[in-house]
């Protein structure tokens, strides 16, 4: 749930989503859901000459299961807060689950 909440705070930011086949798509983050499916608007494929397949596509839905990385603008990530939230979530988990 933490990463879902985290990605929700990034809605409206410019991000680059790299898929497991090395295809990378840049665009405005429109929405994220609980499966970390990502919706982007105004997309641009990185290395467009190699991947002209999506020329006529302006916005897309990327299934969370095929995402390898999401590149984020560093300025919009509060790492201290994220670390703290991760620790707190760990503490809330029932004992024995490590």
């Amino acid at each position: 749930m933490l990463f879902y909440s985290f990605f929700k705070t990034l809605v409206g930011q410019q991000v680059t989503v790299e898929l497991k086949n090395d295809l990378a798509i840049t665009g405005l983050l429109v929405s994220v859901d609980q499966f970390l499916n990502i919706k982007l608007d105004n997309i641009k494929v990185v290395e467009e000459s190699r991947y002209p397949h999506m020329m006529a596509v302006k916005n897309c839905f990327i299934r969370g299961s095929v995402v390898r990385y999401v590149q984020l603008p560093a300025a919009s990530v509060d790492t201290a807060l994220l670390q703290d939230a991760a620790r707190r979530e760990r503490q809330q988990q029932p004992a024995g689950r490590k």
Binding site: I25, V57, K58, F61, I62, V66
Partner: protein, 96 residues
Amino acid sequence: MSDDLRTYADRKVWVFLTDGRTLVGELTGFDQRTNLILTKAEERIYSATEPVKSVPIGVYIIKGDTIGIIGQIDEELESQVDHDNLMVDPIEPLVL
């Protein structure tokens, strides 16, 4: 939720599957697991040595776990794409 797909309902979409295939069609149905129903569907076959080939396949039901990308096709941009002269390797499959 996959409510996100609601904005694509009844629109023409470009779908990339994890096995590397590309389909185009009208999104007539979907659910929260991203299972899709495409009507007036066609498979787009890309090749570096031949122009893009479109093979009509009718109605297609696609299981959600094989979906990679769903893109909304902008009809205006689509009409500008010269598919008869587009020769390009297919996108690599998404090995899971």
